[in-house]
């Protein structure tokens, strides 16, 4: 049975939810984007129940300015205090837990990589870490360009699909968009400030870190191209870090197979504490 409670962070009231289990290990789930603690499609609530059924106590929370919590939303970059407050609250709610690990997807993974060191988790699971910054030269009204590596991968997949080739031949494809996309795809991938900061933070981790990758997810592809570059060398050679990949395009591990894989990986990370 999930239980819900409030806790304090810089004078604001945050809401957390815990699924208790009999074991001595816990996992704090940090939400990505502006998503509420139950997750898109109730996915995080379900994940927490599944993990608790396997003996891991799980906490989720709404950071400031999100969901039921009060305060202002400062995005993942401003979430360090929320992460610390959540861990403190977790320890207070479940004093019997010996080790607490943390899991985040997308920009939550980046937040954990950047800020978790100060908080003091026993292990980290970072899924499809977010490395994308809005380029300064973006056209007005244009959202952040998809990283070149992700565009290349997407177009390659489309060109291999015979249905897509038929669309191209019969005029179903917007040629102007296609040319623009190909030009972006041909551009050399540049490592953003966030990418550099992430690699530096990863290289300095001294607890087990599992980087969980959905190998056809665009966010993950952008991360991998930095990880595989010269900028990622110190992180790659940090013996505390293990990269695990699943062959999937689902950014949030949405399918049944993806969900099962994620649960297995998280159990493994928690037990590596």
């Amino acid at each position: 049975m999930t239980r819900h409670f409030t806790f304090e962070c810089t004078g604001e009231t945050l809401v957390g939810s815990i699924d208790d289990a009999k074991g001595e290990r816990g996992l704090l789930i940090v939400s990505g984007g502006n998503e509420i603690r139950a997750g898109a499609f109730g996915g995080m609530a379900r994940l927490a129940r599944d993990l608790a059924a396997s003996g891991i106590t799980v906490m989720r929370y709404d950071r400031r300015g999100i969901g039921d919590s009060s305060g202002e939303n400062s995005g993942f970059e401003g979430s360090a205090d929320d992460i610390s407050a959540a861990l403190t609250a977790f320890r207070k709610q479940c004093p019997g837990l010996r080790e607490i690990a943390a899991f985040g997807n997308c920009d939550a993974a980046s937040a954990l990589a950047l800020f978790a060191g100060k908080a003091g988790f026993a292990a980290l699971a970072l899924a499809n870490p977010w490395t994308i910054e809005t380029p300064d030269n973006a056209e007005e009204g244009e959202t952040a360009a998809m990283p070149a590596s992700a565009i290349r991968s997407r177009y390659l997949a489309k060109l291999r699909d015979p249905r897509e080739l038929w669309r191209l031949v019969t005029g179903g494809v917007n040629l102007r968009k296609l040319v623009k996309g190909l030009r972006q795809a041909a551009a050399k991938q540049e490592v953003s400030g966030l990418g550099e900061r992430l690699m530096k933070a990863l290289s300095g981790q001294t607890v087990p870190v599992a980087i969980l990758i959905a190998s056809r997810d665009r966010t993950a592809l952008a991360f991998l191209s930095i990880w595989d570059s010269a900028s990622g060398e110190a992180a790659r050679t940090n013996g505390y870090i293990m990269l695990q990949q699943i062959h999937s395009a689902s950014h949030s591990f949405a399918g049944e197979d993806d969900h099962r894989w994620l649960v297995e990986q998280l159990i493994a990370v928690v037990h590596s504490c």
Partner: protein, 235 residues
């Protein structure tokens, strides 16, 4: 702030601001993922109602948000019953505030005055979710049609835009219209979002938060809704 109500043998989460005052509003959220996108705006709206001296309750519908109730076993009638149970246990409730598809459930307490924002037809909500499912399938290279989905729903739960649907929910949504559950004699006020082309009795300023891709906040909308409700209750 955190309360629960009992339904179908389970405790369901209910966000609550209750200082024992005379006016207590049951907030019926938008349905499905629109609820996620408007969650923070509504929580802040409840805090703004508090500032007006008004209590409020916003219960989870079984199968939604924190609820462990099996999604595919939910349908609109079950949701109406759950809301009635919540009002019974955490009330007394004096008014209802319903947004978007929440307006399809206001007959959970047909005698109460009701405030509605941008009421949505069940058919429209269903159509949007079916389209999302078909688009996702086509992107994945699967050849699926709406007919195939509806047929599959006859024999088992169908996933549409991340939610699991039984045929009772699908049929219910197809036939549910906000006007059908609003008795003409009932004390009501309906407002529309200013980004919509037509309006009824008033406008709330702010983009259609429930149509955005992910949850966002709109502090102006939270306050405007609370102000409008407070004004309507005590003109």
């Amino acid at each position: 702030m955190i309360a629960s109500y009992r339904f179908a043998g389970q405790d369901e989460y209910c966000l609550r601001i209750d200082r024992g005052r005379d006016t207590r509003i049951l907030v019926i959220q938008p349905l499905f993922e629109e609820a996620n996108r408007t969650r923070h705006m509504l929580a802040e709206m409840m805090r703004a109602l508090d500032g007006h001296g008004i209590d409020s309750l916003m219960p989870d519908l079984p199968g939604r948000n924190e609820s462990a109730f099996p999604q595919h076993q939910a349908d609109l009638d079950l949701w109406r019953n759950a809301l009635a149970e919540c009002a019974e246990q955490l009330g007394p409730v004096t008014h209802i505030a319903a947004l978007r598809g929440g307006a399809l459930l206001i007959d959970c307490a047909p005698q109460l005055p009701v405030w509605r924002l941008a009421p949505a037809k069940g058919e429209q909500l269903l159509r949007t979710m079916i389209r999302a499912r078909l688009t996702a399938d086509r992107e994945a290279g699967k050849h699926v049609t709406e007919e195939m989905l509806i047929e599959a729903a006859q024999t088992g739960p169908v996933e549409l835009a991340g939610n699991l649907f039984g045929t009772a929910m699908i049929d219910g949504l197809k036939n549910a219209r906000p006007e059908d559950v609003l008795d003409i004699r009932r004390n009501s006020r309906t407002v529309r979002n200013s980004s919509e082309p037509d309006f009824v009795t008033g406008m709330i300023d702010g983009k259609a938060l429930w149509l955005r891709a992910e949850p966002e906040h709109n502090a102006v909308m939270s306050q405007a809704i609370a102000d409008d409700i407070a004004e309507w209750i005590r003109p």
